[in-house]
């Protein structure tokens, strides 16, 4: 196991910059998710790490060893990197039995048969597939195949395990079971894991830290709760979690952490991004945004902020309303309520919390 460092990595395909000046440090034993919409460059980043792609610029090192540095003409091939990878399509070899699939890395390394069989058995037991050793992968279900792929990584004792949207082909039910399987695997082995996904729920549930990517850049890298409570910019605020971002112009800063924002006819108390406090000019340039999560806004008939209900969905235990607010009725807030509301009904809202940040344009993090 080893820590992983990426420094100013760039990769273009023709004119298209898939990965642009990305720097990333991952600690030994950490579980990091790369999260982003399709085409954001997350899979390219993973493939750069694995060695299937060669960066145009930048340095990648694994446990202190430089494995890719085009400037010094260093490019370690994937087969020499000792990284495990789990693909979305499982990538099990249909012409080999489950045991041979799992044992292939050991076969390549020239281990003796006895030692090989022992390790294969241990790895298959770890993913609870011991009895399936002699089956063909084609006879297994999707979840079982993914566990075989995981066992194949495990057996080679890799420096890190890379997972490329491993759950995308499984049904919702199986996904939760497999998430648990990945977490168990991570706890038991302590392996560094890098997990590519476009599903924020998956990333939030498993990762120690999440890197949100968009258009080849990393927008923000933080723990899931930080990402949710304190998004750094508009893209992250919109992509992670439900909620709305309102452009605001009138911010009065109370202290380093809090401020008061004018919203309609009321003042709302909110937390504020420390960057913003240091860079007050942005506030006057209309560069500020207020991120409101649905659990921070409740229907309260006494509330000074008024709006009309556009939509009402029962979530079990509570309702989620979409409420249109503002003078020009140009913003829609997702809001929780304890009672059903009529479409078009005029309701009052009470805002208990909010997050003010300064990056409303989609510039690089």
């Amino acid at each position: 196991m080893a820590d992983i460092n990426l420094s100013r990595i760039t990769k273009s395909f023709g004119d298209y910059r898939a990965v642009n000046q990305v720097s990333l440090d991952i600690a030994d034993g950490e579980f990091v998710a790369l999260l982003g919409p399709s085409g954001c460059g997350k899979t390219t980043l993973l493939r750069l790490l694995a060695g299937f792609e060669e960066p145009d610029g930048g340095v990648i090192s694994l446990g202190g060893q430089v494995v890719a540095d085009p400037q010094s003409n260093i490019m370690v091939t994937p087969e020499m990197r000792n990284l495990g990878i789990v693909f979305q399509s499982y990538a099990l070899w249909p012409h080999m039995s489950v045991a041979r699939n799992v044992g292939y890395p050991l076969e390549v390394r020239g281990l003796g048969r006895a030692e090989r069989d022992h390790k294969i058995k241990a790895a298959l037991d770890t993913v609870a597939l011991g009895p399936y050793a002699d089956r063909s992968p084609t006879e297994l279900s999707g979840g079982q195949r993914q566990r075989v792929a995981l066992a194949r990584c495990l057996v080679m004792e890799p420096r890190a395990v890379l997972l490329d949207e491993p759950l995308a082909n499984l049904d919702v039910h199986l996904r939760e079971t497999m998430q648990q399987a990945f977490l168990d695997f991570h706890r038991r082995t302590g392996a560094t894991m890098i997990y590519v996904t476009h599903d924020q729920a998956e990333a939030m549930a498993m990762a120690d830290r999440i890197a949100v990517m968009d258009k080849g850049h990393i927008r923000q890298m933080a723990a899931p709760e930080t990402l949710y409570r304190e998004p750094a910019d508009l893209m992250v605020a919109g992509f992670v979690g439900a909620g709305a971002v309102l452009p605001i112009s009138n911010v009065s800063i109370t202290d380093d952490r809090t401020c008061s924002v004018r919203l309609g006819d009321t003042d709302v108390a909110a937390r504020i991004c420390p960057n913003f406090v240091r860079n007050r000019a942005a506030a006057h340039a209309g560069q500020a945004g207020l991120c409101l999560r649905p659990e921070d806004v409740w229907v309260d008939d006494a509330g000074a902020l008024r709006g009309s209900v556009e939509d009402c969905v029962y979530l079990g235990g509570r309702f989620r309303l979409s409420v249109r607010i503002g003078q020009d009725r140009d913003h829609v807030l997702p809001v929780y309520a304890n009672r059903r509301a009529r479409i078009g009904e005029n309701v009052g809202l009470k805002v208990s919390d909010g997050w003010v940040f300064d990056r409303m344009q989609g510039e690089a993090a």
Partner: protein
């Protein structure tokens, strides 16, 4: 000619062509392109050289002589007419068979497909021989029933239309195979969606099925046309008696005469055929590039449109066509091989196996030819598969300008008439530069020519299977620490084996009874089956020729049956004509 200049446009790219990775083991793979270049492209270049040099000086004299001669243009027109008409016939027969077998609920599909493949596996000159014997005044079969045309009346097949008809029948299976591969990829959802939208009957066929399968139709048509253009067996056996010259027969006749300018003139004629063939291939690429009908959706159960009450009628028509194009000519061939002397009326009292006895036990050349053809075709099939696995890997997984150029050029030796390729091989290998060894008159030169000609047949199935493989399968092995050699051996080779075997089988069956290439390359003791039959018929021993032909057909059918019977045990996709 435009296509040629486009080819030339690739050359500067070759110098700057660079692999997209700098792994040293990968660079080794590129050395594989060298023998491919020497065997399949260099001979053609050498032949072209001959046409533009007169006595060692660059000159257009041969061009002026050949292109200024009326017979050249007459032969060109004849070639275009017979190949064009033949292609239309192939398209009608092969196309309707493919549609009916792949999309409807006709019964006994496996048997239909098997029988329909046989004409392709029978050498063209044998097809020609059997049809001539079926229809002429001395037809053994017709005479046996007393319905032969009167003695002295002309043989109706000795005509342009006769040539076109046989070309059409011979190449119908090419259209059938390409189209059927395309039809099998047709997801039934797309047809079902059209039916839900209200399309029925003819509208469904014309507006949905036909456009969706047009890539297969275009590819099949182009291949049938190019193959017909280079056909020598049928045009020679039907055209020469009628004094009807096409470009391949004109070349053959020029070569039969001697003179200092023969090679130059032949080279120019070859370039003319090559230009027409390349135009055909280029047109086909152009048409295909305009349509990207990638078929979305799962290919699940095959479609079977119900034919309803018309099914028995349609089945009867299909089998009747098979009887007409396969059974009847074969019967005629067998009848001829059994008559005591050519022209004698066959009946139950006078049939004789003398011809079989003669060719099997008296003439040593038959056994020799069987042995030569068998060795050549097995050797070519094995060698080509071994070369094609890594070659296809380079072309699919490490594409560069160089591999794209090679991809286009390997088509040329197959598209050119076999006679032209044979001349090109003679020119290049009559005295190998540096080594000072001559391959002329040995089996080696035929072998090399076969490698050049059939490379593309072995290459395409393997390339297809590589491009359909999930790259992750290889990358997973790479992450496991497997180097290139190991990956090829452990992962890619087993996964591509079925298509490689299918390619090898096609090469073997095509090479086994090949005539056009070996017609010019054989020497006494090195004759192939195709040459033996042609020579026997040419020297008037039609009964003996028929006997050899019957044996060849029986061997081919027996081999195909063996593969058919073993197909259950073989991996899926090995037997090309199987579903």
């Amino acid at each position: 000619m435009q296509a040629v200049s486009r080819l030339r446009g690739f050359w500067p790219g070759m110098i700057t062509a660079r692999s997209n990775s700098n792994r040293s083991s990968d660079r080794l793979l590129y050395w594989l392109l060298v023998p491919v270049f020497v065997v399949s492209i260099l001979p053609i270049v050498r032949l072209g050289f001959e046409g533009v040099m007169v006595g060692g000086v660059p000159s257009f004299d041969y061009f002026r002589d050949v292109l200024g001669n009326g017979s050249t243009w007459q032969a060109t027109a004849n070639s275009l007419y017979t190949a064009g008409l033949g292609t239309i016939i192939s398209l009608l027969i092969g196309g309707s068979f493919a549609f009916l077998v792949a999309l409807t609920d006709v019964r006994a599909k496996a048997a239909l497909v098997f029988c329909f493949m046989i004409p392709m596996m029978i050498p063209p000159q044998i097809t020609a021989l059997s049809w001539v014997q079926l229809t002429g005044p001395s037809s053994a079969l017709l005479n046996a029933f007393g319905i032969a045309p009167a003695m002295g009346s002309p043989q109706p097949l000795y005509s342009a239309e006769g040539i076109a008809l046989l070309l059409g029948i011979q190449h119908a299976s090419i259209v059938f195979l390409t189209l059927r591969a395309n039809l099998r990829m047709l997801p039934r959802e797309q047809i079902e969606a059209a039916r839900l939208a209200g399309a029925r009957g003819g509208r469904l066929w014309w507006q949905i099925i036909l456009p969706l399968t047009s890539p297969g139709l275009i590819a099949g048509t182009a291949m049938a046309f190019v193959t017909a253009l280079g056909n020598f067996g049928i045009t020679a056996m039907l055209g020469i008696p009628a004094n009807y010259a096409t470009l391949p027969t004109l070349i053959y006749q020029k070569l039969a005469g001697f003179g200092p300018s023969v090679l130059g003139e032949v080279s120019v004629l070859a370039m003319l055929i090559g230009a027409i063939a390349i135009c055909g291939v280029a047109l086909h690429h152009r048409l295909l590039s305009k349509r990207d009908y990638r078929l979305m959706g799962m290919v699940g159960r095959p479609l079977d449109i119900s034919l309803g009450a018309r099914r028995p009628l349609i089945e009867a028509i299909l089998w009747a066509v098979l009887v007409a194009i396969l059974v009847v000519p074969l019967l005629a061939l067998i009848a001829t091989s059994l008559v005591p002397a050519f022209g004698v009326k066959l009946n139950f009292d006078n049939y004789s196996f003398a011809a079989f006895r003669e060719v099997l036990f008296v003439q040593p050349s038959t056994a020799r030819a069987f042995q030569n053809s068998f060795m050549l075709s097995v050797g070519a099939a094995v060698t080509l598969v071994l070369v094609c696995l890594p070659l296809a890997y380079v072309m699919v997984r490490r594409p560069s300008r160089l591999t794209k150029l090679i991809n286009l050029l390997v088509e040329v030796p197959y598209a050119l008439p076999g006679v032209v390729l044979a001349i090109a091989c003679i020119l290049l290998f009559i005295r190998i530069p540096l080594l000072d060894v001559s391959l002329y008159g040995t089996l080696g030169i035929i072998f090399i020519a076969y490698l050049a000609r059939f490379l593309v047949i072995a290459l395409r199935p393997v390339m297809n299977s590589f491009s359909q493989l999930d790259p992750a399968l290889e990358e997973a092995a790479q992450a496991c620490g497997a180097g290139l050699g190991r990956r090829l051996r452990d992962i890619l080779l087993p996964l591509a084996a079925p298509s490689a075997a299918a390619g090898a089988l096609l090469v073997f069956l095509t090479a086994f009874n090949e005539l056009t290439v070996s017609a010019l390359l054989w020497a006494s003791g090195n004759e192939t089956l195709g040459v033996l039959i042609f020579n026997l018929d040419d020297s008037g021993d039609t009964v003996l020729a028929s006997a050899v032909a019957v044996m060849v057909v029986l061997v081919v059918i027996a081999l195909m049956s063996c593969f058919q019977l073993a197909s259950r045990r073989l991996p899926k996709g090995v037997v090309p004509w199987q579903t």
